[in-house]
Symmetry: C2
Subunit: 427 residues, 2 copies
């Protein structure tokens, strides 16, 4: 595709957005319903395109976990269509006015939500992201330039063709949702320079992709998705209820960013609770990286032959690692201040919590720990747009501008000031 | 200052911020009061430092307008102290919780405002910006790295010394507010790469500075301050009340970004209103760039000898120019659609308005024009944090992420999610 012109594609997307942003909520919802129907109607064709991607990727030596992420079969296409339909009942994120006030001079002002504009979304192997993002963008009146992984190009083309056909049938420009039809990595770099057409970059991938976007983008970037998450067990926690929370945070889905990485335990209760934690979690397949004090404390447990292989002395980088697997760091600390100091030094600012029945200490922790999500007596696994009641999620942000934590539809909007007067002049 | 280390300075600012963000609102207000007092107490010394800057700049050939911007005499220092004191009575921007909800599973969540972190503020000749920004940052719990113009370095050092002494006396780290003590332009470029220490860049200057920051910054940039502003006179406007609004928007302070650049007039009323506009504004010293149709319409007025020199046929770039002076573009359009099309093509998205008594057309304009501020029957000069009731202003944003239009104290905050449970686990 040597004659492909990304600048022209992004510019066409911006032009198309100007039509999309004037559409009604009912019109945008009708598009979502039609996309869901079309996905189902073309399920076999999409699966065939995906089978081509899978065959190419298998031949190229992609591992089975990657192949599984890439796979799009009939049940997954059906689930994808359901996700699109679930957006229809959510309220219109653009039908919001706020901060209304009549000023002393009689001028009336309020702020009204508007779409951000054109989103640039860069993602990796999972082709369903193409539809997730397209549906969220359309619901919120945004256009999008999509750049999926090269291994899923044929799947993405088949999926975006559904969106294009639906948009055209609805009298809206197909260019509202554009897919970069190329696997050339230079296009990612070029996309990051097109600030005349693209308002916001949302990378969905690993730390290297996020750093690359921050370095090269001329427009704002939503950085996120990296979670080195902590739970601190205070001495006033209900120790009988602590173990299931730690287990849930670590084991329920270890490959995601809100899974637990390090448990901090107050020294005064460590001997009571740490052996229970490691026995329970070891049974679930967890391996441990433990600081010297925890190692000493666990000598008895470690001596149980079948558990010995699960323990490693924590190395200097272990508390700065996002495990994304069945590995848990354990560290003994003196008190709340020590726990907060450790979190301050090692957390990625994603999700950190305290387990305690002491309200004052909980308040102190929630006040002082400045992560995107701070928890009192709950698993870190709730940092998710769906779980926190946003109805949908486009990304989890760990940067501090615009949106922080789970980003739902509202976080895909900007606002404008509306000022109404009676031929007012400024003094 | 060859041994000056900007990375170390920014890093020290971030460390200092961690203390500042734990301070109480009363403590931060006490710092503001003491800064105001100290400015007054040291007024003579500050004016002396400023006189040195003025002498150097005058010798270097700075023009009188620039020298006036640079000047900091006793009355201006007194006004600066008053501006700092005015922040004290504003509510604490951090004492805000929002979006509180109890979820179906009993989990309670809300969002709580927190400071953004470390602001990097890059500005030009006016030294009072150093105090304005320091005071807004401290009020909102943010730290700041300041980079003023080289011509105001001695003034800025004297002003920031006041802030440092007050912070130290209050038991807070002086490094909360850091001034880059160098006029080397390479430090601006380096500042833009320090995303580990600086969360947000706020450039306060011309279009070239904004473009430079967007290109090189690894962190988000608040772009703004460029206003190509329009007012559209609809045929249903109260024509007797239109002229003062146009005059106010153009003449009251022509050098600022919210001043009017182009007036669009509906053809059906152009002959009735345009001659009045040009006679009134010409008397105030305005020059005009007019499209061919307006030129023909104004033939009679232009024939009046003393006005002829004030009219120029609009060239191809005139409607894409921010005048920042007593120049006004005039264009005749057919209807609302034409007016909106012109604004869409030429506005910088800052402030645009309609003058009409037709409610439907006003609604249509306010809905369709997507600028940071849209007006109905008011001068564009109200796009200002103070005028719109924000109490203070750090910048006017014309980008679409985080904050748009006037940015007050709330726009200097981020938020965190606070989630409280009863040992909740995710299913």
């Amino acid at each position: 595709m040597t004659d492909f012109n990304l600048n022209a594609l992004a510019s066409a997307t911006r032009t198309a957005w100007k039509t999309l942003k004037r559409s009604s909520h009912a019109q945008r919802n009708a598009v979502l319903a039609a996309i869901a129907d079309t996905l189902i109607a073309r399920s076999a064709a999409i699966a065939t395109a995906n089978a081509d991607d899978l065959a190419t990727s298998a031949a190229a030596g992609l591992d089975s976990a990657m192949l599984d992420r890439l796979r799009l079969d009939a049940p997954r296409i059906s689930a994808l269509a359901d996700d699109v339909r679930a957006l229809i009942d959510l309220p219109d994120p653009l039908a919001v006015c706020f901060d209304q006030r009549v000023l002393a001079n009689g001028l009336m002002r309020h702020r009204r939500r508007v779409p951000i504009g054109v989103l640039g979304v860069i993602y990796e192997s999972r082709p369903n992201v193409s539809i997730d993002v397209a549906a969220l963008a359309i619901k919120s009146g945004n256009a999008a330039v999509l750049r999926g992984g090269k291994e899923s190009l044929r799947s993405n083309l088949a999926l975006v063709a559904c969106v294009h056909d639906v948009l055209r049938a609805a009298g809206l420009p197909a260019d509202c949702i554009s897919l970069i039809p190329s696997s050339d990595r230079r296009h990612v770099l070029e996309l990051l320079t097109l600030d005349a057409s693209v308002d916001l970059i949302i990378p969905r991938g690993g730390a290297a992709l996020h750093a690359f976007c921050r370095e090269h983008a001329r427009m704002p970037v939503i950085t996120g998705g990296i979670g080195i998450c902590h739970l601190y067990i205070d001495e006033h926690a209900d120790l009988a209820r602590v173990v299931p929370v730690i287990g849930n945070a670590k084991v329920q889905r270890p490959t995601v960013c809100n899974a637990l990485d390090t448990v901090l335990v107050q020294r005064s209760v460590a001997a009571q609770v740490v052996p229970d934690i490691v026995r329970t979690l070891a049974a679930a397949g967890v391996f441990f990286r433990v600081d010297p004090e925890a190692f000493a404390l666990l000598a008895g447990v470690i001596a149980e032959t079948d558990l010995r292989a699960r323990f490693t002395a924590a190395g200097p980088e272990d508390f700065d690692t996002e495990w994304l697997s069945l590995v848990l760091g354990i560290k003994i600390v003196g008190d709340l201040d020590d726990a907060i100091a450790h979190i301050d030094a090692h957390s990625s600012g994603h999700s950190d919590g305290i387990l305690t029945d002491d309200r004052e200490r909980a308040r102190d922790f929630l006040e002082r720990v400045d992560s995107a999500a701070v928890y009192w007596n709950a698993s870190t696994r709730f940092t998710d747009g769906g779980q926190l009641g946003l109805g949908a999620e486009v990304a989890v942000s760990t940067q501090r501008i615009h949106a922080r934590g789970p980003m739902g539809l509202e976080e895909l909007t900007s606002y404008k000031w509306v000022i109404e007067g009676a031929y007012h002049t400024r003094r």
